[in-house]
Amino acid sequence: MEKTKAVGLILGIIGFIIPLMIQIPGLSLAGHLAMSIFILAAIFWMFETIPIYSTSILVIFLEVILLSAEGLISHTDASYSPVAYTQFVATLADPIIILFLGGFVLADAAVKYNFDRNMSRILLKPFGTDPKYIILGLMAVTAVLSAFMSNTATTAMMITVIIPILAKTDVSDPARISIALCIPFAANIGGVATPIGTPPNAVVIAALNQQGVGIEFGSWMLYAMPLAIVMLIVAWYLLLKLHPPATSTLNLDLKGEWMKNRKAYTLYIVFALTVILWISESLHGIRSSIVALFPVAVLTLTNTFEKEDIRKLPWEVLWLIAGGISLGIAMKETGLADWVIGSIAWDQMGYLLLLSLFGVVAIVLSNFLSNTVTASLMIPLGISLATSGIIEGPASILIIGLVIALSTSFAMVLPISTPPNAIAVSTGVVKTKDMIVAGSLIGAIAMILIILMTRFYWPYIL
């Protein structure tokens, strides 16, 4: 076992035991247990003692045996009425998980029938041969695709698009760096645009749902997409300033052919219909998680998506999200979240300062931790902050949710910050230093914009 993992294991166990050894006034036994689980999960997630999805599974398991009505511990405390174990387990079928399942099936089927690559080919065509606009094109296409597919898969696909371009550019041309960096950045940015763009969105939306705050697919886009578009342009401008292309023309060698068979056509139609139904939720009123069952059903019943494909779905990501959601449930139900919020003198800080604090902590943490993990750790506290009335103002609960979700996604300073960053650095074209410089600037600008949005944008459209 590596040193850091071993350290994590020891710290995790110690962290788990501490809340059980002390008596915190005003916190139920269940609250103490929830704190143990929270600390254990946070440490395991940070040190990656075990894979992050297995920490999520462990969270659900511990909640069931320690906190549920059917578990091993009988909770007699008046302040906690035990939750049915099904509530922790049911997070695996949470509407947002079903929405993601639909998104995963759609995305994997798109890869299977080369829909993603052919789309990128078509979308890139209008951008010509000027490196500046090619980079813009690459970013726009990456962002659009990653809004509906996983950021990682989109990055991998776009890397296969840019490798031939990189091979043809002079080794000393800074364009190589801007091309190689623009892909992961655009993939990270694109992920914020829709609810299914990236897993942290799911964790936040699920937590908001539990507070009775429903978010339509299109509404999320209205809240988050303007930021994605502005940041895409900012990132483009920054990359061109930092690494201006030396060559004046680049040739995109876009070969490929649309697959033309019954199954491929089925996918094209189902993909288009699903996206249209998602975006137009406010017109027909069918929830996005229900719409998500449509591609799953149609693609499997037409054998477009087969048994092997179902097996290859990234199930561990769904566990990861479910673990995050159920951690939130445990913290809320046991009163732990309220206790944490109540024990800090927040009232010293103003509304904006508080939101900024959450945003900054989220973006900093998320540079080192998984984005989903960051969102999972912060959203229960954020929600308590809003429900306990410490932050007020219109729709404060939604705003704190957006701040957390968006801030985690704009963490792209290091190769370890997100899988897309790791892929880009692996090509060897980008130095970590280049990523740190550009990523920090993008993160800082995004943070400022997010804070401005809490004041000047969201209050007016919510």
Partner: protein, 166 residues
């Protein structure tokens, strides 16, 4: 300790051995290169590598060797579970048709390089076969992107889902 991937070069003439190793030096940063001048020595090295939980990604093997010949060594490796995935290449001037056919049929020979070879050819074959090996046998292909066929490794990440959003 992370498992390393080895390239094993088996050749009895020191100058030839040197020149093979020199030609594939660009892989040295990411792969361990081991040399042997007989099949028997190679077997010993293979055993050591496997005992330490490492893998052999590629063997470049001469045919005519003192003692056991190259084709027999490759066939033996093919029969053993842990060296079956190893990509096998003959570099030789003297293997006859019969032995070559045997190597193709029984050792799943991936390539036959006739001496004298060109550096570019050797490097390309090494890159292609190591990429195959990494795709088939390594969970996280990311760290080899820089030295191997990045296009194919990225494609593998796209379709194989080794890495997912987190």
């Amino acid at each position: 300790m992370k498992p390393k991937i080895y390239i094993l070069v088996v050749e009895d003439e020191p100058e030839v051995l040197d020149s093979i190793v020199r030609d594939i030096a660009e892989f040295e940063e990411y792969f361990e290169i081991e040399m042997a001048d007989t099949a028997e020595e190679a077997e010993q090295i293979i055993q050591e590598i496997l005992d330490n939980e490492h893998m052999i990604g590629l063997i470049l093997c001469d045919h005519v060797l003192p003692g056991k010949n190259g084709v027999d060594l490759l066939i033996e490796m093919q029969k053993s579970e842990r060296t079956k995935p190893t990509k096998k290449v003959l570099i030789t001037g003297q293997a006859g048709l019969e032995e070559t056919v045997k190597a193709v049929n029984e050792a799943n020979l991936k390539h036959y390089i006739a001496k004298p070879w060109e550096k570019k050819e050797l490097v390309n074959i090494t890159r292609t076969l190591l990429t195959d090996f990494v795709i088939e046998s390594v969970k996280d292909p990311l760290k080899y992107m820089q030295v191997l066929d990045a296009q194919r490794l990225a494609e593998e990440i796209r379709t194989g889902r080794h890495i997912t959003d987190s």
